[in-house]
């Protein structure tokens, strides 16, 4: 009794937890065609496997219960070389049952796989995601080169539009995975992979890197914003704009430091002299929902912490702790906050 109670106590919060958080980063999210197909197949497998498990355990418990009562074929009775002929037929039946069950599952898996592959052929939008230690470089591809957009760590997708995401890596192997949308696919240097997603629901979803990629693998996440098509186009057009000119003196001081100081060696800011290519693009940094590849939510306090000492927040990250004077720090953060 106490066992059942404690089991309930253990499972209930888990179930609640699953429901509460499935919007954000969960296989139960069901926010795209791919994840829904996954869930259907998953529950089919769970049902078949559950039946198999119950059968095995029931057979074992029945055997234990029977042995208490019946006279058995054991060494003490001298009949230990005898076997119930019925057991032979049961063995054959059991084999057939496993075979049929597994064949059914294999076929179900095969058809789900094929339907996913078919969905992957009619893409309307193409995005290239490049995995880097430990952030995501994102480029929206457009036929018109002036519309090509480069951003980082935040992926916007229009709802209902099949999007092909081309996956590549410039250093080690990473894996692109947004649990609420679809399964994962690796980003492998020297290889071109891709994944197609058809989001079905508006929302914000998180995608952690799913292949161990070194020291800060735990702090390499992607925020995915699924929005209506009109909003998406508006977002795209806004992101194409160069960074706004700083207006306050403090932000202007920050602008000068960022575009002429060490920041610009790695970061690019559209419409300014800062044109580094090896770190995330900062043109619309403050419009993003998270900072440092999903390490923290975006905010003034987080920006202060991150700019002042990234190494204490994400040890080993490629961004160095420069040791800014307090005045410089205020200026830099004030400027970065204007990058909406």
């Amino acid at each position: 009794m106490s066992l059942r109670a404690s089991a309930k106590a253990a499972v209930l919060p888990l179930l609640l937890g699953a429901c509460q958080y499935q919007q954000y980063q969960s296989d139960f999210g069901g926010a795209a065609v791919e994840d829904r197909q996954f869930l259907t197949l998953f529950w089919i497998f769970i049902a078949v496997c559950g039946v198999m498990y119950v059968l095995v355990i029931a057979f074992m418990l029945a055997g234990i219960a029977r042995a208490r009562r019946a006279e058995a074929n054991v060494v003490e009775t001298g009949r230990h070389h005898q076997s119930d002929p019925l057991m032979r037929s049961t063995l054959i039946g059991w084999t057939a049952l496993i075979g049929v069950g597994l064949a059914a599952l294999a076929i179900a898996s095969f058809f789900t796989d094929r339907s996913m592959a078919k969905a992957a052929t009619n893409e309307k939008l193409s995005v290239t995601v490049t995995g880097k230690q430990w952030w995501w470089d994102i480029q929206y591809n457009a036929a018109d080169a002036s519309k090509t957009l480069r951003t980082a760590n935040e992926l916007h997708l229009p709802v209902g539009v099949p999007t092909r995401i081309l996956l590549q890596s410039s250093d080690v192997i990473h894996s692109f995975w947004v649990p609420s949308l679809a399964g994962k696919q690796d980003l492998i240097p020297g290889r071109a992979n891709d994944i197609t997603v058809v989001p079905t629901r508006v929302g914000i979803f998180r995608g952690p890197c799913a292949e161990f990629c070194g020291l800060q693998h735990a702090h390499m996440a992607l925020v995915v914003v699924v929005e209506p098509y009109a909003d998406f186009i508006k977002w795209w057009d806004h992101q194409l704009q160069p960074a706004p000119q700083p207006t306050t003196p403090l932000a202007l001081a920050g602008y000068k430091y960022v575009t002429t100081g060490p920041c610009s060696a790695c970061h690019a800011i559209g419409g300014t002299p800062a044109n580094g290519q090896i770190a995330p693009d900062l043109t619309h940094l403050a419009s993003r929902k998270s900072l440092a590849a999903g390490t923290m939510p975006m905010g003034e306090g987080q920006l202060y912490g991150w700019v002042e000492d990234p190494q204490s927040i994400k040890p080993g990250v490629n961004m160095p702790t420069i040791g800014l004077e307090p005045g410089q720090l205020h200026a830099v953060v004030a400027y970065l906050e204007t990058l909406k």
Partner: protein, 670 residues
């Protein structure tokens, strides 16, 4: 004297002369035969035991200790060393669980955490799981087969020292903060020269090489022992299921291990040390080559760990249900087909790498079909329980725990075999849960059971039953509390190998439960160890056959004498001790003044050859030192290989230096 004889000899007719020569020769052989002591009708009891003891005992002292070729001594060391590594790997796991108990925990930093999980995986896979199975087999198999020694006993000793040196190197590196930090799988290019500076990765790669050499040597020893050293009458059909499991396992090791030794030593180390570009996509290499070769070993590895455990289960089920395992031949076929199928599954570790979809379908089907033979084995054990009368002592409890747990792991394995499901679940805590259900539920539970079961054979004393029960329940519930919630955290999107996770994703509760469970599990293991230590000195005296078992290891005293059996038994059924009243029939005619074992034919096990057994020798130890030195030095310089070959060559030449062959008169074995 010679003159007269020669004269008369010369004077005889040719045929007569030949007859006399043969007679003379026979007389001389008969004289010599009398000088040789053999077991048999005339020599038995205490006198025989004393003679055998004199012939088989190794020299005392540290030199004798290092030189021993006794399979029991080597097996004991193997088991104890592996259990030591189990404890170390378990402590690593507890630290990881502490770090993951809370979100955004800063107790252990990224660098140390990455070392912890790399060490945990490497230790458990390479230094615990495979060696402990081979160690148990090295101890038990010759006893179970009714023989006095393993085949190639010196190779056996060499194998242990290689294993020990590999383990020591890894752990000394850990203490020196040079431990591997990119996982137990070390995918390129992360493990390549550019992204893994320092010597962390090289240490891992060479540790793998040591343990692979050790595992290969032990596998050769076991396969040859099982095929050639069985007691007369123990045909392949009558061979115990544990011996079958070890035979299949040994053959699998021989085919699987070279792949990983090749990929680490021959491809990865040169990439890091001398600038080859096998895995560098920029120079025409291929990063995925590493994964293919690693998993070509890595997947069979799982079955290399699991198959001996199924052997343990068969042994326990047979003894505690008081009848032979149902459908012996089905279980044997299941073992063999599992062994074969396991070589066709490796790509299911790589479904997310973007390989062609037709290939995926093949590997899904192959992965799913491997559960058919395993399902058959489970049926056979349950049918044995159904027909027999199970007695629930501690080893049998572990079997029941095994069924409850392993079947879940097997079924989540079926789920992971389906590509659309695997793409979501791959590299998440769902997989962590699955692999621990399979490896702890499927291999460690039977191991703890068999440890309790064979403890009296090895030490002469029983383990405490009550303590054993308590630790079983702690281990069982601790295990499920640790790993069941991991299915949830995986479904909630928690990837593997992260040193921390953010709050607010619903991961707090399952992770906290896992951490608490891990400590319960650890407490159960501590109790198990305490039970073993206490029972070693205070346990009830066991006697030769405390469980009333049927196989030959119980036909000799506990612990067995250094020569195992006074007489080599003859087997007439598949449960010999149950089918003979009192004394087993025996073979006589083996020498007792020198170490000698009886080899039999491979299938029918009829007596074949009397084989002299090598004396204790220091050369296996010295060879292992020399080879170990080359491996360790080649981490730092490629020149270690050509120069290191010199001491290796000297040691091996000394080891294999041909001894003068003496012509001995052949005895008649009746």
């Amino acid at each position: 004297m010679t003159d007269i004889r020669t004269d008369s000899f010369e004077a005889m007719p040719a045929r007569e002369r030949e007859r006399v020569r043969v007679e003379e020769e026979n007389r001389r052989l008969a004289q010599e035969r009398k000088k040789i002591a053999r077991d048999g009708p005339k020599l038995k009891g205490a006198k025989l035991a004393a003679r055998l003891d004199l012939a088989w005992r190794r020299p005392p002292g540290i030199v004798g200790w290092l030189a021993t070729v006794d399979h029991k001594e080597i097996g004991r060391r193997y088991i104890l060393t592996a259990l030591g590594f189990l404890v170390l790997g378990g402590i690593m796991a507890l630290f990881m669980r502490l770090q993951l108990a809370r979100p955004d925990n800063s107790m252990i930093g990224a660098e140390r955490y990455n070392q912890l999980f790399s060490m945990h995986g490497s230790t458990m896979m390479f230094l615990f799981a495979v060696p402990v199975m081979e160690g148990v087999a090295v101890y038990i198999i010759p006893l179970m087969l009714g023989t006095r020694s393993t085949a190639f006993p010196r190779l056996n000793a060499f194998s242990y020292y290689m294993y020990l040196f590999g383990g020591l190197m890894l752990w000394i590196a850990f203490v020196l903060n040079m431990a591997p930090d990119v996982g137990w799988f070390e995918y390129t290019p992360l493990s390549g020269p550019q992204y893994s500076p320092g010597k962390h990765t090289d240490i891992w790669a060479q540790m793998v090489t040591y343990t692979e050499v050790a595992a290969l040597a032990a596998a050769v020893v076991l396969v040859c022992t099982i095929l050639k050293a069985r007691a007369p009458g123990m045909t392949l059909a009558r061979m115990p299921l544990f011996a079958w499991a070890m035979l299949v396992e040994g053959i699998m090791i021989i085919f699987a291990m070279p792949a990983v030794a090749l990929v680490t030593t021959v491809l990865l180390i040169p990439d890091r040390l001398v600038g080859t570009q096998f895995f560098n996509a920029g120079e025409g290499g291929d990063a995925l080559l590493f994964q293919h070769m690693f998993w070509f070993f890595g997947h069979p590895e799982v079955y290399i760990i699991f198959l001996p455990a199924t052997g343990f289960v068969s042994v326990i089920v047979e003894t505690f249900c008081r009848r032979p395992v149902f459908a012996h031949s089905v279980v044997v076929l299941a073992l063999i087909s599992t062994g074969i199928l396991s070589f066709g599954l490796w790509v299911h570790h790589m479904f997310a790498t973007g390989l062609p979809r037709v290939g995926y379908s093949f590997f899904t089907a192959a992965s799913i079909s491997v559960s058919i033979p395993t399902g058959l084995q489970i049926f056979c054990w349950l049918a044995t329980m159904w027909e027999g009368k199970p007695r629930f002592q501690v080893p049998m409890l572990y079997v029941v725990g095994f069924i409850f747990t392993f079947v879940i792991g097997g079924l989540t394995g079926v789920i992971l075999a389906a590509v659309p499901l695997d793409l979501q679940l791959h590299d998440t805590y769902f997989v962590v849960a699955h692999l621990h259900y399979v490896l702890i539920g499927g291999a460690v539970f039977p191991l703890l059971g068999i440890f309790t079961y064979w403890f009296p054979k090895i030490t002469g004393r029983m383990m405490n039953e009550r303590l054993g029960r308590v630790s079983f329940w702690l281990v069982f519930f601790g295990f499920h509390a640790t790993f069941l919630p991991m299915h949830w955290s995986g479904m909630l999107g928690m990837p593997r190998r992260v040193y921390t996770y953010p709050a607010g994703l619903g991961l707090e509760v399952p992770n906290l439960i896992s951490t608490v469970g891990a400590f319960v599990l650890a407490f159960g293991v501590v109790l198990f160890v305490v039970n073993g230590l206490v029972s070693l000195y205070r346990g009830a005296i066991a006697g030769p056959n405390p469980w009333g078992a049927a196989s030959l290891e119980w036909a000799t005293s506990s612990p067995p004498p250094v020569y195992n059996f006074e007489h080599i038994p003859v087997v007439e059924s598949d449960t010999p001790l149950w089918d003979t009243d009192g004394e087993l029939p025996v073979v006589s005619g083996l020498r007792v003044d020198q170490k000698e074992m009886l080899l039999t034919t491979v299938v029918a096990a009829t007596p074949d050859v009397r084989e002299p057994v090598p004396q204790p020798s220091l050369w296996p130890f010295i060879s292992a030192c020399a080879v170990g030195l080359v491996f360790a030095a080649s981490i730092f310089s490629a020149w270690a290989v050509p120069f290191g070959l010199i001491p290796c060559g000297i040691a091996l030449i000394a080891w294999f230096w041909p001894k003068e062959m003496k012509r001995h008169p052949e005895p008649i074995i009746s």
